[in-house]
Amino acid sequence: MIRVEGLTKSFGANQVLRGVDFEAPKATITIVIGRSGGGKSVLLKHLIGLMRPDAGRVVIDGADITRLSGRALEPVRRRYGVVFQSGALFDSLTCWDNVAFQLSETTRLSGPEIRTRVETALEQVELVGVGPKYPAEISGGMRKRVAIARALVTEPEIIFFDEPTTGLDPILVNTIHRLIQSLHRKLHFTAVMVSHEIPEIFEIADRVAMLHEGRIVEAGPPDVIQASTNPVIRQFIRGEPELSAPDPTKRST
């Protein structure tokens, strides 16, 4: 269970998070939605311990990670995997080495054991055969899948996804979402994703939380969020413009 309590964060005069509260129950897919630039990625960086809040707590299975730093954070970090928005694959390593990297650096597994785990992870994301290629030699969709394989290979309890479908075409968006859903059903990890892929995320989420102006305005199962009467949520889901644009066919008088 991941619980966020009263998280606030400012950059200079710009207050990005203004008291975020939400929960991600164990073994579910929780998706945080919200407009671009609304603080979703900042929130995720707090969840994975890359940023420290001005106030508030991030509690993962009872441990407040905002109070931990350096080596104390390492055991927590070994329990989760992260899929970054850009994939963040090491471009000097092949796809195989990218997936194997964390295993070879943080575990005492033997060479054959690492090979088996990497092969399994690449099979799970349907990428058998791309191991020897470098990230620059494969497509954007394949890079995202290698990034997912890299997050999966350590068999983490929690996986954080930072807009994993950004920059992909609609077919690939669906493919990646279906992949995440099927992996989740098979491996039962807790997934927290930030995304603005509406309406696709409603098909895979167990819970959806809407982040707006630094606060969670509503959270609940996808059907509850879709049926919400909150004007902010309705506007976001329907993709309505913030202000009614002037009709270009009408001439001002």
Binding site: I48, G49, L50, L73, E74, P75, R77, R78, Y80, V82, F84, Q85, S86, A88, L89, F90, D91, F101, Q102, E105, T106
Partner: protein
């Protein structure tokens, strides 16, 4: 807040804010090296990353070191010969070239060349890793990016800078030999014999300590700037420029300091 400060005091407020900013940046700069040096002496050591950096900083800079070293020696040979011949002291060409190279020009010019070639590339590489979240990826894997990216670079600088400086000095002395002996007719025995008389071990050690310090300075600045890059391609470009300029200035300042402290 600026609004609450009386107009007459605003210049002082600006100076104060700037000063705090500079002190803050210096603190971060120093802490960065402190953390790296702390990890330098604590296991686990990343041998593969270290060998990679030796290749990147040292081996890949060999050609530029050989070229600049030989031409620096040739220019020194020519200019010093012309000057010494006015006083009939051409015999001292060998020691003059060797001392100039070993004490000053070797460490400084080799460091400046490596700054331009490897320091800039190191900053750009780390900067791109930073903006493409590769450094964050290392962190969330419970792996310390300092251990993988900064420590091997600084250690490689400490090992490869003195070696490259030695190479620069040797090819420079032979460059001076080419001009002084082969072109201008000085005897070979005079060139090398007088050199043996005048160049002491302490001169060699001065050059060695300088090059060792420059190895730390260049890799420290390059990795710091790469880690603290701004946004996008422009941020990487700015950090790379700042890295080369800052490292070059620090090399010259530190050279003067060491020149006045060391015997």
């Amino acid at each position: 807040m600026t609004e609450s400060v009386p107009r007459s005091l605003r210049p002082f407020e600006a100076i104060g804010r700037r000063t705090i900013g500079v002190v803050d940046a210096l603190g971060r700069f120093g802490t960065f090296l402190g953390v790296a040096l702390g990890l330098l002496v604590t296991p686990p050591f990343k041998l593969r990353a270290f060998i990679g950096r030796i290749h990147y900083i040292g081996f890949n800079s060999l050609l530029i070191i050989l070229l600049t070293g030989s031409f620096t020696g040739m220019v020194l040979g020519l200019q010093i010969y012309v000057t010494l011949s006015r006083f009939g002291s051409e015999a001292y060409l060998g020691p003059a070239v060797a001392l100039s190279l070993i004490r000053e020009l070797g460490p400084v010019l080799a460091a400046l060349m490596v700054t331009g070639r490897a320091g800039s590339a190191l900053t750009a590489e780390l900067g791109i890793m930073r903006i493409s979240e590769q450094i964050d990826a290392l962190t969330v894997m419970a792996l310390n990016p300092f251990r993988y990216l900064v420590v091997p670079s600084i250690l490689a600088g400490v090992i490869s800078f003195p070696l490259m400086t030695a190479l620069f000095d040797v090819v420079g002395i032979f460059g001076g030999y080419l001009v002084g002996v082969e072109l201008l007719g000085l005897s070979q025995g005079t060139y090398f014999g007088e050199m043996k008389t005048f160049v002491d071990m302490k001169d060699i050690m001065t050059g060695f300590w300088k090059s060792l310090c420059f190895g730390v300075i260049v890799t420290w600045v390059a990795t710091y700037k790469g880690f603290h890059v701004g946004h996008g391609a422009e941020g990487v470009a700015r950090a790379t420029t700042q890295s080369v300029v800052l490292a070059s200035v620090l090399i010259l300042v530190w050279d003067y300091f060491m020149g006045s402290v060391l015997p």
